[in-house]
Amino acid sequence: MSVQLNLGDKLYINDEKSTEDLDQNYDDDYDDEDDQYNYDDDHNNNYICDSEGEMDDDNDIFQIDPEIFEYEIYPMNKIDSILDKKCEKILNALNLDDPLDSLYLLKQFNWNPKTLLEVYNKDKSSFLLTYFSDDNNNNSKKSSSIHKNKLVSYLNIYSESQIGSRIKKDAVKCKNIPVESYCNICCSSRTSSEMLSLDECGHLFCTECWQMHFESLIGNSSGHFFECMQTKCNVVAGKDFVLKCLENTDSNRIEKYKKLVVLDLVNESEDLQICPGELVIKAKNSIPSTPKTHVSHFKLISTVTSTPTVSFNFKSTSPVTELPQETKKCDSIVWIKNKPSAKRVVCTTCETQFCFLCSTPYHAPNNCSTIRKWNLKCQDDSETRNYLLVHTQDCPKCKVCIEKNGGCSHMTCNRCKHEFCWVCGNDWKTHGPTYDCNRYKGNSEQDTAREALNRYTHYYHRWINHSNSLKFEKALREQCQLKITEKIMNKEGGTLVDWEFLTEAVDILTKARYTLQYTYPYAYYLESNEVKMLFENIQAELEREVENLSHSLEKVNLNDKFNIKIQMSIVEKRRKTLLKDFFQ
């Protein structure tokens, strides 16, 4: 028995440990267990054989966990340190001195040092030739101050960055301005100190007009590079020039501009993303939730013993108070360590869970375009579709869609005057004096449109069903905690540690339901072939195991711990298998 428990534990703990660690543990245990298995002859043997048979597989699963995704979360105003780190990395790896070079190179590789170094390490000499040959150097980098302007624009956004301090700043100043100047925009005479121009074009305008120009652009723009005011002058003003002009602007607008700069950099960087979540600033008229005392007691303990942090948290386990809350955008920056892909990110600031690539809710096993299609489809039709299903039918003769808004079942089509029965769809004449539409007759003539609708409904129903179940999972989690406390208080046995597996089980269940929900759009867009059959088999298995676990959790006692742990590991394994095979 102890061995089996061990197995359950291991499987779960694996989630939190790094993969290397785990392989070692696993191998060690595996050897020990192997001997003992032969003597083990209890009723759960089947399960164990199953898991034993898949042992190699398991190792694979953990090595290439389809969901593993490494990232760090930074507040927006720490963007400078992110860029610092990237530049340092490049400067050290390539042994460069000029920080501007690192900026220039990073920009060429979508600000991703990883891809840059990959290319560099593949063929160092040709890399250097491509990016540092004299031609390139002179033409496209150093001599082009416009280019430099754009690069330097990303430095020192919120604070003086290390790289920023190493780059010589070109002071914003203009030479040879006549003492008596005239600004063509506001048509006023100005002194030379009131006039400013961009170095690259020299078009002189007064600071006030520059300020108004930029303020107006900040209000309407989606980027931070603003052009010179002169007609047909495409010279771009960098961040430092704009900020100098905005000295007298209110701080909100300056913050907005800085955010535009960050967003531009994040958009250009393939390894950065902005968290789409929202943070509650303060709840309006919030009534303090009054959980029963033992609930809070439990929570107190739980923070001490700390349940394993499966990266899947809920915003709150306390009773949800549905009050209007004042929120602001979270805007944290996600910096990934892997290749950019449609993987799950959980923001540590606001706990929002989203796809790194498209910033919508995490949607494995679907790719971003599939889920976009699906969501659009649901938005477009779901309400209409529900209404159609409940209130309409197609005329059996001319197929026009008929809405029944009252009255009896004797229908007369407005268009073709066909008379039919609403209930069975047959010609009214055949009804005669005897009412026989209670008999089921298969639909011989299925309208293709309705068939398509039926197909969609099939998937949509299951999708929505899991989504609804997920809402109950929150309640289940609360119940679970209540139950644990009760059991401990009633001296039914066990300590908090003994019961902790229940919370873990709910975590596993929630994760699995979430994945299941997203398997339906995936299946909807799969072509009908063997792949789809395989997918639906695996999906069915996962679904069955989820329901099993869900059922077992409803009435649980301490003796079930082992069974539930086994079920938990099976559910999680099935989920990972599905993702491993179908989530690219």
């Binding site: 048509c187 108004m212 120009h213 052009e227």
Partner: protein, 153 residues
């Protein structure tokens, strides 16, 4: 403060009155100095020749940081002008620069009458006709000019 007209608009108005652009007149409304009654004569050798086209021009609060709003009041058959008289012209939208003026905007509109651009249409039907059968389109434009921009004045 907001009633005080910016120097820029005063100067522009003065110059429009003192040195009018040939073929263009722009007069500020008596009650609103930011609203201009505009008349543009159809350029010679264009289908609009001989016509006098009325427009309205309004300077928004943000002017000159934001472009003026201009609209044809006279019906005109042109691929870049729609039924409501709205004009598809880059400098009135994203290519606006604060250094442009009422004068330059009106000159650009006058130029647009000389050189319709059916590849960047506002009215698809008109633009299509212009591409498929230019002679027919020009004929229609001339008829419209006669009907709306000459006779009714």
């Amino acid at each position: 403060m907001s009633n005080l007209l910016p120097t820029r608009i005063l100067k522009e108005t003065q110059r429009l009155m003192q040195e009018p652009v040939p073929g263009i007149s722009a007069t500020p409304d008596e009650s609103n100095a930011k609203y201009f009654h505009v008349m543009i004569l159809g350029p010679s050798e264009s289908p609009y020749e001989g016509g006098a086209f009325k427009l309205e021009l309004f300077l928004p609060e943000e002017y000159p940081m934001a472009p003026p709003k201009v609209r044809f009041m006279t019906k005109i058959y042109h691929p870049n002008i729609d039924k409501l008289g709205r004009i598809c012209l880059d400098i009135l939208k994203d290519k606006w620069s604060p250094a442009l003026q009422i004068r330059t905007v009106l000159l650009s509109i006058q130029a647009l009458l000389s050189a319709p651009n059916p590849d960047d249409p506002l009215d698809n039907q008109v633009a299509n006709q212009w591409k498929v059968n230019e002679a027919e389109a020009i004929k229609t434009a001339k008829e419209w000019t006669k009907k709306y921009a000459i006779d009714s004045n």
